[in-house]
């Protein structure tokens, strides 16, 4: 099963690489940086008595490592880091098949309003497609774009913009 998943993931990766319009202009920040979204809570330390409820959002974030993947400017390509995160997300979603997930797509502020709505949707769909290819039932996944309307970082600098170019997988609390 794992091998199939890996094969599928690889195939998906190759497929996505073929569709890539251009290489990412800049890499998203290193994984060690703390990234918070409005939809997550800091997971409490894993503890048999006080750990997050299995199947909860907190559990999702703890297990997948992150509910957010990032993108290069003007791009909706899933890079290697995103691949790792989405793979873990897919694994968690496989464990809890009744949980529905909404993927939000977001852009940084350096785009016009309407185009950013479409670009955010592209990013959300890119994450969705990855999950579907990783075995998640498409019917469980809905997509919504917020364009540039809901940034997580409020600065007007490269670091903030990089944080805002994202797709967030939201599961119920």
């Amino acid at each position: 099963m794992n091998k199939t998943a890996t094969l599928l993931a690889t195939a998906a990766l190759i497929g996505l690489a073929g569709c890539a319009k251009k290489p990412p202009k800049q890499l998203p920040p290193a994984p060690s940086q703390e990234v918070t979204t409005t939809t997550t809570t800091t997971p409490p330390p894993a503890n048999e008595n006080n750990g997050p409820t299995p199947g909860s959002r907190a559990d999702f974030v703890a297990q997948a490592g992150s509910d957010t993947v990032h993108f290069a400017t003007d791009s909706s390509d899933i890079d290697s880091e995103a691949t790792g995160i989405l793979t873990k997300q897919a694994a968690w979603l496989a464990k809890f098949p009744n949980v529905r997930v909404t993927i939000e797509g977001h852009c940084d502020e350096r785009g016009t309003r309407e185009y950013n709505l479409a670009l955010g949707d592209r990013r959300a769909n890119a994450a969705k497609n990855f999950l579907v290819n990783a075995g998640v039932n498409a019917a469980r996944i809905s997509v919504i774009s917020y364009g540039k309307e809901r940034p997580v970082a409020t600065g007007s600098d490269e670091e903030s913009w990089a944080q805002n170019r994202r797709a967030v997988s939201v599961v119920p609390q």
Partner: protein, 459 residues
Amino acid sequence: MKTWHLLASITLALLPGAATAQSAAPPGPGPAAGAGPAPGQRLTVDITGGISNKMPIAIPVMPTPNALQTPAGATDALGNQVSEIITNDLKNSGLFAPLSKDQLRPVSFPQVSAPDYGAWLPTGAQALVQGFVQANGDGTLTVGCYLYDVFAKSEMVRQGFVVKPSEWRRGAHKCADTVYSRLTGEGPYFDSQVIYVSETGPKKNRTKRLAIMDQDGANHRFITNGQSLVLTPRFAPNRQTVVFMSFENDQPRVYVYDVGSGRKRLVVDSRSTTFAPRFSPDGHYILFSMIVNGNCDVYRVSASGGTPTRLTTSPGIDTGGSYSPDGSKIVFESDRSGTQQLYVMNADGSGQRRISFGGGRYATPVWSPRGDLIAYTHLGGGFSVGVMGTDGSGAKDLTNGWQDEGPTWAPNGRVLMFFRTAKGSGKADLWSVDLTGVNERAIPTPLDGSDPAWGPLLP
């Protein structure tokens, strides 16, 4: 001897003719720049290079034949306010310099149609606007409006406007439009409204509400309550209907909203994301963008509802459609080439061709109501608002803020409104600029503002 005398007489008699012939001006070309005219021809003085300036104009308080109370206030007070509205309209157009209050003199009712030119000449005013406000017996008001050329000492135009008391400001705007059009040759635009998104709150979580106001900021009212994120509202040509995009129920979709009744419905009965709506000039169609299977395209649907027609099919992002004023063509933005650029197509979707070829990216195209230009957002280092010909020629950026975005045309195709976002804070405000690039000015709104759409001229 006799012969000699005869000859002498004849010669003398012929002298006038000869003399005349000598003094007659030979016909020739008109005076060249370097030479005076030939004798007998008229001098031509060449004056080249006019001064770019605002026309000084006097707009004294408008008297009333009888000071009467009306639902809109006393007519003499209204006369004062009407002249102020006209003053502000003309000043804010950037083309006029109204005299200050201390330079104005009171005008009596009989003087309204018989101006005292001599009194206005020393002020330097080149034009004079006089008028009156009068309560009619049937409850309506009449705003009389007279425009005079101070130096030619002649009347240029006069017009009267009968208005309901609740719409008294429109009488002032109509007078300002009459004056503006007569002096500039441009179409009118002061008697119009703007719909926009009123914003407030932290950058991460802005509260946005739709609002409508007169183009001078008066009569401002909210039409949504801010509970759902709302974007990009646009008027129908009859201004009774509005299209906009809302995130209510966590579903970003376009709604068609009746301003009078407050009722709204979805533009298409679909779960797909829809946004970027715009009415056709005749009000029969609504253009919008819809994302189906991850692909964003421009669609058209009847304004009364039904099945939409797909107009673009490229796998890129196609959005932001805007009709030409004759309804025959649509300009839109697409990244099918790899970056956002502008494209024009026929109204049925055929004949799609790219028109933007300057450096950088082009977005949010809007066709001028005059038909001659397309306004856009130019993305380079920052965002600028600019205009180009309908074939893409002569592209010229008019503004240079950090992020100037989303232009909309005044009904006369001479003035643009847009919104400007501040770096860092992300605060957005409405701004306007003249087509010639002058008079970039902030539009005062109660809160912050974005996504303005200028409505048509009121009839």
